[in-house]
Symmetry: C2
Subunit: 184 residues, 2 copies
DNA sequence: GCCAGCGGAGAACGCTCGTTCTCCTCTTGC
DNA sequence: GCAAGAGGAGAACGAGCGTTCTCCGCTGGC
């Protein structure tokens, strides 16, 4: 196995385990077992568990940004539709069987108080999502605060869907977003 | 020190430390030091750290429910105003210097995947907040889904304010709530 | 065929944590 | 004044974790 696939397998295994059980409840041994990558290799690629967590979060950040953009490109044309498409994307995500909330909200809650790096990555990600909305809101000529409100709806849908274990908040938030869009 | 005040001091110390650093990063020794209650007493009152965490969350649940109700009673009279008062309460909370997000969202992210009890308490709390909105929405004769949407706004404001470290999401969510109320 | 070096399995190490135990002090009832 | 018991301080214990090390087998160049 070359270094590249080892890194990928570790990132995927860690992401899955962190999502399922949280960060601190997952030992490096569990990541080694799930990834099939030896501890030696693992520490060659990621010098510490903290570094691995940061890499997982940065990768997830890029993944979510790309997914939002490409989902909108595939399902919507106007800025109005592209805003709503974000909530459709959330709905598909929430329905996945292993969905357990947003990785950044969860990581911030668990580690953000103790690791400035994790808090920064979470803030950066949430700012990026807000900015995605902001670009669409600007295209619509609506006031900028609408972008913040759409981001709040999205974050609220993630938190609510995670805790309640149902995908419905996506549709409810989408309906609310439509009301806000129509009022602006 | 009698048992009652020992219990109270432990609960307050644990709540503060859990909020600041997360649950798993706080040792029982830190709680003992912060509370001034000996480990022996501590384990007499709470048989395990898990039990202590559950007690902290249940107490916080009651505290938040009472605060929402009494804040609304003090600052609002109509159901419409009482809905918006929840977001004013959030704004005051977010501005507190040690605010670091919602205890239930954070605890769910950290422990919810591994402890059904914690996940249950978080779900119960969020359901209670939704039901608070639902009662007001029913008084207004608005469709029930509005209560879910208001709860999503509140949860989103908490998550966003925690991660970004600013209280503004409360006002932004309040403005969004007003739009939803007026549209219903 | 042989050896140098790379990689894997997993033991080892040092630390922290949850929980319990020990020992000492102080109070209290007589 | 004294025995008895409760309570506090902190050591002790066992488990688990992040990280490193050891040892062994395999591979590839000559």
């Amino acid at each position: 196995m070359d270094t590249e696939t080892a890194e990928l397998r570790v990132l995927e295994a860690a992401q899955s385990l962190f999502n399922e059980r949280g960060v601190q409840a997952v030992g490096m041994d569990a990541i080694r077992t799930a990834s099939g990558v030896s501890l030696k290799r693992l520490y060659q690629v990621f010098p510490s568990k903290d570094a691995l967590l940061e890499a997982v979060l940065r990768r997830r950040d890029a993944e979510v940004r790309a997914a939002i953009t490409s989902y909108a490109a595939a399902h919507a044309t106007t800025p109005y539709e592209r805003v709503l498409a974000v909530f459709d994307y959330l709905g598909e995500w929430f329905a996945e069987p292993d969905f357990r909330g947003c990785a950044f909200i969860n990581a911030y809650g668990e580690i953000g108080g103790v690791s400035a790096a994790v808090a920064d990555i979470a803030r950066t990600h949430k700012t990026a999502v807000r900015d995605h909305f902001a670009a669409l809101v600007a295209e619509l000529g609506a006031p900028a605060v609408l972008a913040d409100q759409l981001a709040i709806l999205a974050n609220g849908a993630m938190a609510t869907a995670g805790i309640n274990g149902t995908p419905e908040p996506a549709a409810q938030a989408k309906a609310a977003a439509r009301v806000l869009l129509d009022a602006a």
